[in-house]
């Protein structure tokens, strides 16, 4: 009697396709979920079961995609954005995601995960805050959102404000952190309740990244004691923050309610700006 293994006995056609289905489920290959950016290559579905399970300090067997744009490094898990390329059109060869990863990175070394997350923070920052060609379509703005950038920026702003304050430092820090965190959540809820179409974490991420100009402003204000310089610098950074947040927020709601959605955002950034100016 023949051994009943899948690869040596011709199976019933329906069970073969069922097994293929199961394998696809297991691989979780995002074949239907393509990245939003046109330059990103389609993902090859590499079966996870063929990769040996490895310790974190041994590099994995290299899975080679066939990207249409040959990146300088051919391994999938290292993103080209780590290289000093400032062209925002060069996107990492990983698909869009938040904190997580693509299917064949279940066995990647730890250092690759770190590099990927760091490069995602930098690319998100460049997309949101600095002028670039993708700004016209705000839906693409933070497709692979992450909350690490906003976390660092909020904590940094709280720290700088706390250092600048001469009295009640703990209170300043706690208030700044709570106001920014709660403010981001409430602003997102505001847009959702106005019938807007945004994703909760994407909006939190965006509002956090738009704090970056205010961070710079606060840092400079910490080192200067001239009120005039502060009064000039803070509105500039405030305008920059609002400009960064505007397209995303305004695209999310219907045109009649645009002001209702944008005004609280502006208000929050203005109050943070006042906090920066008023601290001494």
């Amino acid at each position: 009697m023949a051994m009943s293994h899948n690869d040596s006995v011709p199976l019933h056609p329906s069970s073969q396709s069922d097994i293929d289905e199961i394998e696809n489920l297991i691989n979780a290959a995002p074949a239907t979920v393509l990245p939003a950016r046109p330059q990103s290559p389609p993902r090859a579905s590499i079966p996870v079961s063929s990769s040996p399970f490895i310790q974190s300090n041994i590099p994995p067997p290299s899975f080679h995609n066939k990207p249409p744009i040959p990146p300088p490094i051919s391994s999938v898990s290292v993103s080209p954005a780590v290289l000093p390329v400032t062209d925002p059109n060069v996107r990492p060869t990983v698909s869009a995601e938040g904190f997580g990863s693509a299917p064949n990175t279940l066995t990647e070394p730890v250092w690759d995960t770190v590099k990927r997350d760091l490069s995602r923070i930098i690319s998100n920052l460049k997309l949101v805050v600095f002028p670039n060609p993708f700004r016209e379509d705000p839906g693409k703005a933070l497709r692979d959102w992450d909350l690490w950038g906003p976390f660092f920026f909020i904590v940094f702003l709280g720290l700088v404000l706390s250092w600048s304050a001469s009295v009640r430092k703990s209170e300043v820090f706690a208030v700044a952190f709570a106001v920014l965190a709660a403010g981001a959540i409430i602003l997102t809820l505001n847009v959702l309740l106005l019938g807007g179409h945004i994703i909760f974490f994407q909006s939190l991420s965006l509002l956090g990244y738009c704090l970056f100009p205010l961070d710079i402003g606060a840092l400079v204000c910490m080192f200067t004691s001239s009120v005039l310089l502060k009064v000039i610098l803070v509105p500039i950074t405030l305008a920059w923050s609002s400009w960064a947040a505007y397209p995303f927020m305004s695209a999310a709601v219907s045109p009649r309610r645009k002001a209702l959605a944008l005004y609280p955002v502006f208000l929050m950034y203005v109050s943070v700006g006042f906090l920066i100016i008023a601290i001494d």
Partner: protein, 185 residues
Amino acid sequence: MDRIQENVTTENYANPSTCFFHVLFKGGALAFYILSTLFANSFVIIFVITVLLAALDFWIVKNVSGRILVGLRWWNEINEQGVSIWKFECLDQESLSRMNKKDSWLFWWTIYLSAVAWVFLGIFSLIRFEADYLLVVGVCLSLNIANIVGFTKCQKDAKKQIQQFAQQTIASRFTSTVQSAFSIV
């Protein structure tokens, strides 16, 4: 002699360094928060270091120890239509069955215990009316709970896939056995 023991039974941790780091930052955040009065007078430093340790722990559990100790992973994607999808993924069945039992025991128990510990600390700070410290506890607790929810969902998904796979394998083997039986007869 230890070597012989290790070869006979695989009841030791398969990934001791990962387990160590998994526990290190959780314990570090809890310990630093509890012993904070010994270390620093300033609330700001306590807040920043505790939350930093908790965030590092979140990242390690989600990206490193989840993969290595239990073979699970979860993340969020936003597809073309702008809809957010939560993805849960596990290793294939043979690798899953090869997971060390001690590793996964440690993983799950420390996750649940640290969440319970933060809840207790939150209750304490509530009793003492310290809103500042409640903020710290709140942040750390939410990070822990996010990981718990993510991995529990992953685990349920994995079990469902194992069941489906087992059913399909049994069905296909039964069918092929019947076929080969009929071909001989």
